[in-house]
Amino acid sequence: MRRVGIVERGDWQAQAAECGFRFHTIDGARYWDERAYYAFTMAQIEHDLEDPSVELHRMAMALVDEIVASDALMQRLAIPAEFRDWIAESWRRREPHLYGRLDLAYDGTGPAKLYELNYDTPTSLFEAAFFQWQWLEDQRASGRLPREADQFNSIHEALVDRFAELAASLPPPLLFAAVRDSEEDQGTIAYLRDCAAQGGLYGEAIALEDIGLSEDGRFTDLDDVVIGSLFKLYPLEDLFHDDFGRALPRSGLRLIEPPWKALLSNKGLLPLLWERHRGHPNLLAAEFDDGGELPAGWVRKPLHSREGANIELHLADGRRLHSDGPYTGPCIRQAAHPLPSFDGHFPMVGSWIVGDTACGIGIREDDSPITRDSARFLPHAIVEDGAQVVFAA
């Protein structure tokens, strides 16, 4: 794994505009950054990232059965009591899930370590699945990358296939919702609608704020048509706390991600995984937080926090780092395992799971060891070490 400088494509902004990728620059700062890429070998991709992703996903899914059967575990994960039966029922029915992202710390050697699971509202999807793919094709064509260069990224195909699988089981009509004013979230649902359409499943978009509730407790679109299935790029726990949340369990609305994903997008899963797989090479030690002093070598994270917010880091060398944010509530502790530094850049590997398939990665790097919403997305390529020797031969 190397961080390699490379010439930008001259027309990438035009390409971004053409395909509706509007959030490549956020508040004047680059978010999409192709001035460098991360180079991996095939062995690093398959043995160190793909295989562990499959295994971690399987371990997480195996926990759902146990959690839904235990009120005590639901309590530990701070699942509100009035939603527990509904969540359990959604799992018993095996309501289908679409996707998730595992965040891994990896430096090219040794086992990747699981930071957390983003199994409810993972973002950075379009740039990973589509724009990164374009970059590879263009840079191979331009000769700046070897013809044999590849990328761990069949995310787009996996999404189209997954939507095709879901088509038969989702009650229509299907709608895609995100918060109205989030350009990034709107861009992500535009891409997901596109993938769904390519899989034969058509769904309109609706602003989350426009969803209605009827007197008999069903959710409606702006034409009063009862919504059958709703893809929501909005955290389940936030839906629960919104005014309409209490109507969800009896509404008949099918959600994607399904309610049981509230158990996996919860950082309480990290101590549960550690208790059951203590010493697993891809896991970091984790425990539920008692609120006391954070010892050196540990990180404190709220059960629900996104974009690296409200993280407290007490490094082994005594340094303390802290990120602000709006999240409160119960926390977990995780053994500190700082992100590797590549010339002062700290990459986090997001490993995508679509359905139950590990199908690609996207890398976000920040200038600090906590990956926040200021992180930049860099493309990656699979380039064998010494590959040039082979071409010459």
């Binding site: 398959e46 589509f130 009650p171 034969g200 974009e307 699979i382 010494g386």
Partner: protein, 199 residues
């Protein structure tokens, strides 16, 4: 001595073919952006989209799809299939255990076989959605109708194969019919104030 080709193969202890692409063979965008873009050698056909609704009346169907004639035909077709696809019971009590009492009546299939079974409580209508609108006649030809039955637990069922004893030939659907008068909007989204929602 350290030929990368050899190393690549011997490193792989599993059955994966390392020469298989790890990336999508094609990517495409149909809806996004300024124009439909296809980034691949082989262009897919435009996907056929099927829209299906469950309706309890011709009127509610027409309201939803804006085409009364198609709804009327669908309703008639569903009604014609109803007796041949309804769950069959040998007694009223057995039928009433699964379906509302007032729906359980004696019926005859088109082959003349008598049974007790629920009446059709609604109908399904699936339509191929096509961008090049071929007109009302084509819309009606492409429409497919099926009867819908409602059980005691407010679940909706559709015939899924050969009719048989009880619910054997029925498949539950999680579809909800029709429209509902919206009482309130704006009850979702507030928890997002001041934070981004993604992770």
């Amino acid at each position: 001595m350290d030929d990368p080709h050899t190393r690549r193969r011997t490193d792989m202890t599993d059955a994966r073919d390392t020469r298989r692409l790890k990336r999508s063979k094609t990517t495409a965008l149909l809806l996004m952006g300024t124009a439909p873009l296809l980034f691949s050698a082989c262009q897919r056909d435009a996907p056929v989209q099927v829209q299906e609704g469950l309706y309890t009346s011709v009127e509610s169907c027409a309201q939803a799809i804006g085409d009364t004639a198609t709804c009327r035909i669908a309703f008639e077709q569903a009604k014609l299939q109803a007796a041949d696809t309804a769950p069959q019971y040998s007694s009223r009590a057995e039928c009433e255990a699964e379906f509302p009492a007032e729906e359980c009546v004696e019926q005859k299939t088109s082959a003349g076989h008598s049974f007790i079974g629920p009446l059709m409580a609604g109908f399904f209508l699936s339509q191929m959605m096509n961008n090049n609108r071929a007109g009302a006649a084509a819309a009606q030809r492409n429409a497919q109708a099926a009867p819908a039955f409602r059980d005691n637990r407010q679940g909706w069922l559709r015939p899924s194969g050969a009719p048989g004893a009880g619910r054997a030939g029925m498949a539950p659907v999680s579809m909800t019919p029709d429209r509902a008068v919206t009482a309130n909007r704006g009850g979702f989204g507030r928890s997002a104030t001041g934070r981004s929602t993604g992770g």
